[in-house]
Amino acid sequence: MATPKKGRNASAQSKPWRSLALILIAIAALTGGMFASGHTKPRLGIDLAGGTSITLRAVPEAGNESAINKTNMDTAVSIMERRVNGLGVSESEVQTQGRDNIVVNIPKGTNSEQARKQVGTTAKLYFRPVLATEVSGGNGKTSPSPSPTGSPSGKPSGKATDKPEATDKDSASPSASPTTQGRAVTDALKADATPSAGASDKAKASPSPSASGGTAEEDAKKLQAQYAALDCTDEKARGKVGDGSKASEPTLACGKNSQGQWQKYVLGPAEVDGTDVDKAQASLNTQSGAGWTVQMDFTDSGAKKFAAITGKLAQNQSPQNQFAIVLDGDVVSDPFVRQALTGGNAEISGNFNQQSAQELANMLKYGALPLTFKVDSMTTVTAALGGDQLQAGLIAGAIGLALVVIYLMAYYRGLAFIAILSLLVSAALTYTLMALLGPTIGFALNLPAVCGAIVAIGITADSFIVYFERVRDEIREGRTLRPAVERAWPRARRTILVSDFVSFLAAAVLFIVTVGKVQGFAFTLGLTTLLDVVVVFLFTKPLLTLMARRPFFANGHKWSGLDPKSLGAQPPLRRTRRPAAPVDPKEA
């Protein structure tokens, strides 16, 4: 115990200025950053500042009206909650209202348009085999022969999958260069052109397993006719395409290729869907130049299904070796497969930027809404707690803090100066960090969090108190201030670290496991606990070391709070009696 202590002491004692400078620079940087970013106030939660309220109405699906029930609504609420409140710190509220409404309240200063998209998107994800595809022309009728200009490079957006397997890399084209793919598409479209020209041709639908029965044939015919007539450039048609289609049946869909052209598809039944996705995250794919992509990890059963479908598709001719990733009826990506992909993951690429990739990843991660919702209304709401409450709270809090200062001054006198400065440093760090976290991770401060921050002041103050009491104990044992400050530190430090570790453990566990407001609380707790340690180590201790050199403190001035006499230190003359003291029984 002695050796490390000495080493630490020596360094801490010799460089108190360094730590002080460090923390002051940190404050200056944070304050500077705060003003530079223009967010000089922490974002307040909906209870304190009001915000926007979005009402969504569940859209009944034809033939499946009973889907709008309590179970599905509750599931939708919890999924929306997680989408809009991913880290739990944004203080958004989601609740059902009436039979088929969901109300989403988001605090002021949140991008409400983005929030609307986040909660309103159903995020139904399907992997469907492509049966036919072609560029959908702007003239309403698509010519079956693909325009050569559009297609060759039309496919890079449909970049495929399975990056981890090195084996795939050489043999498999999925990750190969866009040009190969482009060519493949051309082939695909060419191969495609003839059959689709004859709209009655059944060959189109036959690859789909469900198209064997008589009615299925009729369905396939109908589908073929619809496909021929489909114009994806027409927004109305696009909105209607694939409506009411079941996952187990072939369907039509539209999607944009990387040229920005609309492409239309006939798709087979869904083989893998969003529930098979375990995790999803946005990542920047610099290797293939695909830009921002969304990486998905499948669940075990999902991986098996995916391997099976890709294995099957790989044996087909283009374009039937493609599968389409369909999100809410739109094809977002339509990669080729050359061999079964068994890695248990896939990648969606397309025209993503960082934000849209992250949004999509979030939606896939938290799952699809069980129902489709339409935004009914968006309106501003005032704070749930009137302004008077906040004001009363602030006044009361200020009075309480003033009492703390008075108490500290009365009890610690000169030392209170150090304690109050430390509290100020801690407050400045907390405030600036919270203000900066508002725009960066959507952190919003609600009333419970404000109260929690006030309790955190008590915990921060406890660290000083533990240390000060240790110093005083040392003085009472007859030490002069400078050694007392250094000798009290290792023990005070241990106490502070052990007890703060418990708080931090609570914060970390709750943050990882929970969702919503509890997660937000855990975040605040973890932040203030870390700040406590930072302030005590980098500010209070060095400052006390420096102050111990001042005669005012070192000589134990009556008002320094370290007066040996008023602390009841033993008068030095007693020292003479010491040698006569009995041997410490403990050593015996």
Binding site: A2, E93, T96, Q97, G400, C451, I465, V466, A507, K586
Partner: protein, 369 residues
């Protein structure tokens, strides 16, 4: 201050001290009594769950309602007998939410509200709302809490020992039960703010206990190497030596929260503040109390059952009897009475030893003898 400062000094030297461990039965009894009251209150009255947990009804008034938010709040609260949340929407209409209402009650309240607000009741749109703090959030919170408690008990058992882990756990349950019980008795509505308050207390209660245990662990390090003090004696002394710190910390933490509760909630009438600050105030006070009066004596109790400590106690008693000293096991006054006499040498004692030795061990003995 000087009085308290002196108290610190006298506590430090052991001139004064309260025998927490000896009188533990009184405090155990008191705590059990409060806990039973809390549990009874909880079972009889139950918790008044807010709209966030159980859902309720929402009333939307027509556009440009003239009544102010606070007026509407008052009307809604008298009409329903529950706390109401009132928000003004962008088009000037009011959204009034009331907890724990079913369709029938909602219709009645709707009519009363219409009368109060002087609008046609047809124009008020009443709907039931679901909880925003749904089951899933609650389940996850319980899950997180469970994992945390298991981890913290393991951590304390490693960093200290299992007895302390157990005592800290008991103290924690004690604090939470009392706080929840008081909530039930006072009848305040439980909001997410309350839950956050409870979680804050959970952290604080453990934190406070750990600070006290840290001192206990340090002082009892070499306890078997001496024959003067039993474990309970040392435990008691360790509480006394951290007493000033405990008082100061509690005062510093309670003052602002008390300000919120009594001035903000009481005098200035900010209702919602009450919910949060009451749980914090009760919990902080209970947390400080339990770490001193419950947790440490409990550790002493458990420790004294160890054969090693039993043997130590025997030796200590034998030595005391041999010396012809009167003190019985826990006779605090006499125990402490003898101390000032030889406090001085002990106080200076560490100084003539190499620093490393005096620091690592001997604090309990070095300080007092």
């Amino acid at each position: 201050m000087s009085k308290l400062g002196n108290l610190g000094a006298r506590l430090h030297r052991g001139e004064v001290g309260y025998d927490f461990v000896k009188n533990r039965k009184i405090w155990y009894g008191l705590s059990i009594l409060i806990t039973i009251t809390a549990i009874v209150g909880l079972t009889v009255r139950g918790l008044n769950m807010g709209i966030e947990f159980q859902g309720g009804a929402v009333f939307n008034t027509p556009k440009n309602t003239s009544a102010s938010v606070s007026q509407a709040e008052e009307y809604a609260e008298t009409a329903s007998g529950h706390d109401a949340i009132v928000q003004k929407l962008g088009d000037g209409s009011l959204r009034i939410q009331v907890a724990g209402i079913d369709t029938d009650a909602a219709n009645k309240i709707k009519n009363t509200l219409a009368d109060d607000l002087k609008i046609d009741s047809e124009q008020i749109n009443a709907e039931l709302v679901g909880p925003s703090w749904g089951e899933q959030i609650a389940n996850k919170a319980w899950q997180g809490l469970g994992i945390f408690l298991i981890l913290v008990v393991i951590y304390l058992a490693i960093a200290f020992e299992w007895r302390m882990a157990l005592a800290a756990f008991v103290a924690l349950i004690h604090d939470i039960t009392i706080t929840v019980g008081i909530y039930a008795l006072v009848g305040f509505e439980v909001t997410p703010g309350t839950v956050i308050g409870l979680l804050t207390i959970l952290g604080y209660s453990l934190y406070d206990t750990v600070v006290v245990f840290d001192s206990l662990k340090e002082q009892t390090k070499d306890i078997t190497k001496q024959t003067r003090w039993t474990y309970s004696d040392v435990a008691n002394r360790s509480i006394n030596s951290t007493l000033v710190r405990s008082i100061n910390t509690t005062v510093v933490a309670l003052l602002p929260v008390g300000g919120l509760l009594f001035i903000g909630g009481g005098v200035l009438g900010a209702g919602m503040l009450n919910d949060i600050s009451l749980s914090l105030f009760v919990g902080l006070a209970a947390g400080a109390y339990s770490s001193i009066f419950i947790a440490t004596p409990l550790v002493a109790d458990l420790k004294e059952r160890e054969p090693q400590m039993k043997a130590l106690k025997k030796r200590v008693l034998a030595k005391r009897a041999q010396k012809g000293e009167t003190p019985q096991t826990g006779e605090a006054e006499e125990l402490y009475a003898e101390e000032p006499a030889d406090a001085a040498p002990a106080v200076v004692g560490p100084r003539n030893q190499p620093a490393s030795r005096s620091r690592g061990r001997g604090r309990p003995s070095g300080k007092r003898r």
